[in-house]
């Protein structure tokens, strides 16, 4: 036990002290921060603040004027778009818009009536961003709509009275022993659950591959170095393998924890220092009207709310079980392969391929499983320990039945123990085997060979 602890310590410290570990652990959150800061910053640079746009309205609907030619209802400005009604022949504007201080011209041709399709045009030496284009279209559309309403004999103020607000709230219910309906208080949006499912599955996927490979490389290195013979004259090969797997898992947990703490900190920091709102930087443009801003805020609030409503006291421990269970299964397989191959990289690729197949399959099943998280595909795949570490976390936000989680988790834990044992059998023979090309048949024999 004491020796196992020594091995875990060494495996952990050697990795954590490496410059590459410190760099990736710290740079990943920074990269996240950069991802948040840079695109809006670059976007802002291109914009030079807000765009000044000349609006040449020949329809008289968008920039409505009174008898004296004064604009009485201009389209509203937004953060990045500034509109100014202009007159004059289009060609003059096209030649001189730059000198007049405009970034571009929106031209709305004459229309016979408000029902006719509107073919507005934008002239500029530059390009509109997708968001800006959509915003301009929106604003023109609104103007035409309200004109139509007026033409139909209504006051457009009256329209607001007709607008309806519908939301479909999901309530999960079950019937308890006394026959009462028990309602789970949950306003969990399916979108958020889907996103959460994907993120958790991806995290586990990345960890399985990255850290499993690390275990394999480290086993190969010890074998090639021949240090392994010195070490296993002091400890059992199984202890060395287990210590390595546990030590590397501790590195993974540490890295994950640092990221979970640092990434939100960097996000908040970026917001404070650069004034970048992460929610906003995700939308294509900063050009949102007050109402739209409100909508975004509401949505962000909804996400936070719905995340807060998740049953974290359930999800976190279960996630950890799947994270560790999956890691143990794959890391032991990687360790076994590492012990079998030695210094032939090509050979290691042939032998790692069968390990990668279930991982890749699991990832490709993720879509269908999340689409139908209570279906039979989801159920059966969750019972297979090669897939469940990736697919069960993806299902977790959809509240899978508890017995399924327990069953699948139980199968996973038992399989993880089995695979550690199995890998140990291969490992103890493999690390002492040199200069022999190994096949799966050969490895199969090792399983049953005596110590």
């Amino acid at each position: 036990m004491n020796k196992l602890w020594l091995i875990i310590q060494r495996e952990f410290l050697v990795r954590v002290k490496k410059k590459s570990f410190i760099l990736t652990t710290l740079l990943t959150p920074l990269a996240f921060g950069l991802l948040m800061i840079v695109p809006p910053l670059i976007g802002g640079m291109g914009d030079n603040g807000s765009k000044r746009i000349a609006v040449l309205d020949e329809s008289g609907i968008v920039m409505e004027r009174d008898a004296g030619g004064k604009v009485i209802a201009p389209i509203s400005d937004s953060k990045s778009l500034n509109f100014k009604a202009v007159t004059g022949p289009l060609s003059t504007l096209q030649k001189g818009y730059g000198e007049m201080g405009y970034d571009g011209i929106v031209y709305i041709p004459q229309v016979p009536n408000a029902d006719a399709p509107v073919r507005a045009q934008y002239f500029s030496d530059g390009q509109l961003s997708l968001g800006d284009k959509r915003a301009i279209e929106d604003k023109i559309e609104k103007k035409f709509e309200s004109r139509k309403i007026k033409d139909a004999g209504f006051d457009d103020k009256i329209l607001e009275k007709f607008s309806a607000d519908v939301a479909l709230t999901q309530k999960q219910i079950s019937v308890d022993e006394d026959g009462n309906i028990v309602e789970k208080e949950k306003k969990n949006g399916a979108e958020i659950a889907t996103a959460m499912g994907f993120v958790m599955a991806l995290i586990i996927y990345i960890i399985l591959i990255v850290y499993g490979m690390q275990v394999m490389r480290s086993v190969m290195e010890e074998k090639m170095n021949r240090i392994v013979e010195v070490v296993i004259s002091s400890v059992k090969p199984f202890q060395l393998m287990l210590g390595k797997i546990l030590g590397v898992s501790a590195v993974g947990i540490l890295q994950l924890t640092i990221w979970i703490i640092l990434i939100p900190l960097v996000a908040v920091g970026a917001q404070l220092v650069f004034g970048v709102d992460p929610a906003q930087s995700q939308s294509m443009s900063g050009d949102l009207s007050a109402a739209e801003q409100e909508e975004v805020t509401e949505m962000a609030f909804g996400i936070v709310n719905s995340l807060a409503e998740q049953d974290w006291s359930f999800i976190i421990p279960v996630f950890l079980v799947y994270f560790l269970g999956g890691y143990f299964i794959y890391a032991s397989l990687f360790a076994a392969v590492g012990s079998a191959v030695g210094d032939d990289l090509g050979e290691s690729q042939t032998l790692t391929f069968p390990i990668m197949i279930p991982v890749i399959l699991a990832i490709s099943f993720m879509g269908p499983v999340i689409d139908n998280p209570d279906g039979s595909l989801a159920f059966w795949l969750s019972m297979i320990p090669f897939f469940s570490p990736i697919l069960m976390p993806a299902r977790l936000p959809f509240d899978p039945p508890l017995w399924e989680v327990l069953l699948s988790g139980g199968i996973l834990i038992v399989s993880a123990l089995f695979f550690i044992w199995l890998a140990g059998r291969i490992y103890r023979v493999g690390i002492l085997m040199y200069g022999k090309k190994v096949s799966f048949k050969e490895i199969g024999k090792w399983l049953f060979s005596k110590e």
Binding site: K3, E222, N225, R226, V230, S233
Partner: protein, 303 residues
């Protein structure tokens, strides 16, 4: 008393029998040579003794006890293929290996400092192993092998890759450790080293134990009664004729003022000397030529 006893040890790999009914015992405080050509089963045998693998049948006793999990801490093993963690610092690495052998942190540090001071390598403590030359790494490896003061030291080709100066340094340390009562098993196929260092040998060939015993006894056992005679002047012509008629003497080699004579019977050496003196040959030297271990080794392995 013997430090290590093997009784009818057998080890099979797949269909190949690597160790076939090997028995021998290593007297306490001795330097014991484990000899054999490549692939004879030396490494398989050593792996059983160091508890890396287990014998299929037969028994191994260390200091009178059946081999158990406490024993690795009492054995020091330096494999033929040396290995250290390349990226680890020398000090950390040695501390790790010493602690794996069951030493406490403080004890390990104290012993390591002593050893490294002795080898004048204390200033390598914070260097990475990959920064050191191969000879330097060998010294580190030796320290790692002996730092926990094992009862039994197993050295597999300890001098390979060492320059003569460092080889001598290690050799002196081996003698020194042996003086302090540590028993040493020395596995090699370099016979001149065995002859120089070992008191006892076991010769393994094709997994079988073909020869056991004290080096001096083995040499006696395999001697072929060849005597070297140094003389002055002329050899009598009759000697050759006598030789032809009397099969008891065979001149194996005729050198400048020296002959090598093979006698059928050991006891006849006096008769030979008498005969030569009678014939008036001026004898300068007369001594028996014992076979070298190398010759015995080759004869046993081929035969």
């Amino acid at each position: 008393m013997s430090i290590l006893t093997l009784e009818n040890v057998v080890k099979n790999y797949d269909k190949h029998r690597a160790v076939d009914d090997v028995s021998f015992s290593v007297p306490k405080g001795s330097i014991y040579g484990l000899l054999g050509p490549n692939g004879a089963g030396k490494t398989s045998l050593i792996r059983i003794i160091t508890t890396i693998t287990r014998a299929d049948s037969g028994q191994v006793y260390l200091d009178g006890e059946k081999l158990n999990t406490d024993h690795p801490g009492q054995i020091g093993y330096m494999p033929e293929e040396r290995g250290l963690y390349k990226k680890m610092k020398v000090g950390e690495q040695l501390m790790y290996l010493a602690q794996l052998k069951g030493m406490s942190k403080a004890e390990a540090k104290k012993n390591l400092r002593e050893w490294m001071e002795k080898f004048q390598i204390l200033d390598w403590w914070d260097k990475k192993v990959e920064e050191l030359s191969k000879g330097m790494q060998q010294k580190i490896q030796f320290v790692a092998t002996v730092v926990h003061r094992p009862k039994l030291l197993i050295l597999d080709e300890p001098f390979s890759g060492l320059d003569p100066i460092n080889a001598n340094l290690i050799k002196d340390e081996i003698y020194q450790l042996n003086q302090e009562g540590i028993s040493i098993i020395f596995s090699t196929h370099r016979m001149e080293q065995v002859e120089e260092i070992c008191e006892y040998i076991t010769l393994i060939n094709k997994g079988k134990n073909v020869l056991n015993g004290k080096v001096a006894d083995v040499k006696q056992q395999f001697k072929q009664h060849v005597f070297s005679i140094g003389y002055g002047g002329e050899l009598p012509a009759e000697l050759e004729q006598e030789d032809l008629q009397n099969s008891r003497f065979t001149i194996q080699e005729h050198r400048e003022q020296e002959i090598l004579v093979k006698i059928d019977d050991d006891a006849a050496s006096n008769a030979l000397l008498q005969f030569l003196i009678q014939k008036g040959v001026h004898i300068r030297s007369f001594h028996e030529i014992l076979p070298t271990l190398n010759e015995i080794f080759i004869r046993q392995v081929r035969g």
